[in-house]
Structures are given as structure tokens and as C-alpha cells.
Amino acid sequence: MDINTIKTQFPIFKNKINGKPLIYLDNANSSQKPKSVIDRLSKFYSKEFSNIGRSVHSLAVTATNRFEETRDLMREYINAKSREEIIFTKNATEAINLVASTYGDKFINSGDEILITELEHHANYVPWHFLRKKKGAVIKFAKSNDKGEVDIDEIKKLITNKTKIISITHLSNVTGFIMPVKKIVDLAREKKIPVLVDGCQGAPHLKIDMQELGCDFYAISCHKMYGPTGVGVLYAKKKWLDVLPPYQGGGGMIEEVKKDNITFPGSPTKFEAGTLQTAEVVGFSESIKFINDIGIKNIMEHEKEILEYGLEEIRKNNSVNIIGNPKNRGSIISFTIKGIHPHDIATILDEDGVAIRAGHHCCQILHEKMGISASARASLGIYNTKDDIDVLSDAIKKCNKIFNT
């Protein structure tokens, strides 16, 4: 596998940032797009566009077929049992909100408990907070340790007869910790508690197999998988599809509409109200093909090599403190530099074309626990190389120089 050849498939790298080659290390935030995805969007709008699922003219039929092909590709990619289990949303946030809203409405009542962890992104906390406000539910946080991991015992000890759902990240977007999802699912199954996995960082960097993981719900952010913005996927196990009520109401998600009653079709239609992000979903099919062509195992291997090199190089700088040291870690290095605020780091790095994220990364709970308000984060994608890490290390040294630390 030649990374430089893969990198040439991404037009963005032809551009200079502040006169320097772009070193893109903000992949946990969003990934860049290969030419095949960009071209697919353009081709769809130029030659195939129509709204889907409604009209009977030729364009509508083609567009519908292309759209539904992505569903089939996604089903295969995550090894779901049936295509009905793949629901398109506008993003992973909406996928989690869909579950919090529909499952919450039906199954969560006052005093019931929602179990999440201190590592969660706001997208896997705020929707549950709404439910807490609306229904009087209780949110319990499984503690993270100083390595930035969540020990499975911390989850185990919080499970009670009132636990109605366990909602956890697959891969922490701050510490890079990879959650033992399967073990947690096994634990939850004993008590018949459904498990939702926030797979935003999992899906682009890990092999995800729904039969192997066994979770009930899995939320995916397609723009982090080299796909267009505006597309998310919710995997929901078949057993929930008929049980859960529709999410939003509108066109497309109805069966029959009468003045005194409305009936709804099955999944995925009943969860996909209104005109969907047709072109983006079609474009996303090229992202899945792009990943499949390289092979997720190769991606994992490559990113592991760069991650380990990155950790080793950055650790050489004594002023840098890497956040968390999880044993099982993926694609993310968050750090602070003594005496330099993360926003100043990000600005100085940007001058050298190095794009990182600075802030709380939508994880205020975790940052507060660590006693910091913000951190800097370098996060990897398939196109990153050891050279990128070298430029990053040099740019960090430049921060030290400017701030005399």
C-alpha cells in the first residue's frame, strides 16, 4: 500500500496553506474527500438528479436505485443482517437523537437510568439530558481512569434494575481509548439492556461488524469516513425497528394519511422523513468503495504505525503532556504544552500548514475532570505519514521557541 498514491486521490492536498503543504491532522473532526467522492456528487447532479422514492419517471427510478445501493453497501460494510437496519440521518448526532427520542419516549420513565461514560462526546450526552429533563430520568456516568480508559467494572457497578440503556463511545475522540464494546454488550445482555455505540471515531478507523459487536444501535458519521457532509447512519437491530415509533413526521415516512388517523410503513422509511440528502448519500457510496479498495485492516495497520511513531516523537518533547495513555488506543493524540494555551498552539501550527483541533473537542465533562479547559488534538487519517508527524513535532518546537518554554 503506497500512502503517497492514496494521498494523490485527495485534491485538497494540491493546495498550499499559508504557503506550506497541508498537513491535515484534524480527521477526528472531519476527514478530507477523495476525488471519486467529489466527482460522484457532481456526476449525480449533472446527469442523474431527481428526488427519490416518489415519482415514477426514469430519473427518479435511477436516483432511487443509486441511493438504495448505498444502503446495501453500508449493510455489507458493517455486516448488518438486513438493509432495513440501515437508517440514513443527517449526521451521527441525529442518529443518537433518534434513539434518545423514540426509544426514550417509549421505554424511559421517571427514575429510570441511562448509563453513559465520562468519555462521551456532547452528542452522546445532550440528547440524554433532554430526556432527563423531559421524563425525569437519571444519567449515570461511568468513571474514566487517569489513563483515559473506562474500566468495564466501572460500568458493571452502575448497572441496576432501573438501567434502561447503555450508551458508549467506540473510540474516545480525546484519549483514543477503544472501548471493549463486545464485553459491555455481553454484560448488558444478561440484564436485557440495549446498548448504543457512538461509532463516530470507530467506523472510520476500526473494523466494525454488527454481528461481532452485538450492539443494538450504532451511530456513524459519514463525513469522518471520507464521505460528504450531511450524511449519518443509524444501525438499529431488527428487533427494534417495529417496536420504536417514527422519529420525525413528514413526507415519505407515511403509509396512509386520513383526517382521523395516520399509519406508517416499516423501517427504514418510517425513520426517514422528508427529502433526504440524496446526492450526498449517493456520493458516500464512493467513500465505502474507497475504504474497501484499501481494506480496513490495511487502514488500521497503517494508522497504528503512524500513531505509535507520533506518540514516540511527541513524547521526546518534555514540555508536552499527552492526554491519557490507554492500552488499547486508536488514531488520536491529544496533548497540552506547559505554558502555552491550545489555541495559541493551533495558530502557530497553522502557520506551518499543520491543521489540528484546539478546544474541548465537545467533551467538557472529561476536560473538567482532567482539570483543563482545553487541549490540542492531532488525529489521523489514511493519508497521514511519518513525515507529517515530523512536521508536527517541528511545529511544536516552534511553539516552545516563541513562548520560550
Partner: protein, 154 residues
């Protein structure tokens, strides 16, 4: 343009050794400011006398070098000024960051002028302008008795 034009010596000095970073004695005005996007927080305290002269001013808070330096510089420049003059200084400061205009206020000493101008490099970094203006807006809120927290995103 070099990154050092943003991080000038004066800015770095104020960032590392902020002046008036405390809760000043007998303050009669105060307000909080928050930038939820990056987490910068500032609390400005001021003591205005009957003639609305800024007898004392200080701040507490956390944030990047630009936001801390800017708060520190603000307290140094504004202390002892009439409120109307302080408002004018604020206006000139904001114009410098937004339009790159020079600061020309008679009641500012040459030294004060130079200190404020050290933040002129921020103009080229639109994402950082809010860092530099937060404390100043917060001071205005405090002086005008606004009970609301300054929020850069509202």
C-alpha cells in the same frame, strides 16, 4: 507576515505575566465574559468613582495568550481614565482589530499606544479576534451595569 507579528514581545510578556490579575479592592462594577467556542473565560472588576472615572480595574480568568494579554493590557491602559475616554479607547481598539486603523487618542501616552498596538497583529487572524476583544466587551458590560454575561456567540 510572520507569526511573531501576532506574538509580539509585549503580548507574550502580558500573556505570561498579566498585570492586575486579581479581584481589585472595593470594586463596584463587575461582569463575566465567556467564549463558549474555545472556553475563554474572563471576569472584569472595576471601581468607578462618582464622576465615572475608572479608579481601579482588574480581571480574573483563563484563556489563550491573546485573551490574557489583551485583558492585562486593557486594565493597564484604562486604569485612571474617565469612562468616556475608556469607551473611546475601546472603540479605537476594536477598529484596529477589525479595520487595521491606527489608535489616535490624545489622552493615551506613547507607551500606552505602543502597548495597545502590540495586539494589531490579531487582525490577520479572524478566528482570534474574539480572544482579543472579550475582556474589553466585558468591561463595557460591567461599567454599564449589564447583568448579562458577555457571550461571544450570542
Amino acid at each position: 507576515m510572520d507569526i511573531k507579528e501576532l506574538y509580539q514581545e509585549i503580548v507574550l510578556d502580558h500573556g505570561k505575566n498579566p498585570r492586575n490579575k486579581n479581584k481589585c479592592k472595593d470594586f463596584n462594577k463587575d461582569a463575566k465574559g465567556h467564549n463558549p467556542l474555545c472556553g475563554d473565560k474572563v471576569h472584569v472588576y472595576a471601581k468607578l468613582d462618582k464622576e465615572k472615572k475608572v479608579e481601579d480595574i482588574s480581571f480574573e480568568g483563563e484563556g489563550c495568550a491573546i485573551s490574557i494579554a489583551s485583558a492585562s493590557i486593557m486594565t493597564e491602559v484604562i486604569k485612571g481614565k474617565e469612562f468616556n475616554v475608556a469607551k473611546k479607547i475601546l472603540e479605537h481598539f476594536l477598529n484596529m482589530l477589525k479595520e487595521g486603523s491606527k489608535i489616535s487618542i490624545n489622552s493615551l501616552s506613547e507607551n500606552e499606544n505602543t502597548t495597545m498596538m502590540s495586539l494589531s497583529g490579531v487582525k490577520r487572524f479572524p478566528m482570534r479576534v474574539k480572544c482579543a476583544t472579550l475582556a474589553w466587551h466585558t468591561f463595557l458590560h460591567a461599567a454599564e451595569d449589564s447583568k448579562k454575561t458577555v457571550n461571544t456567540e450570542k
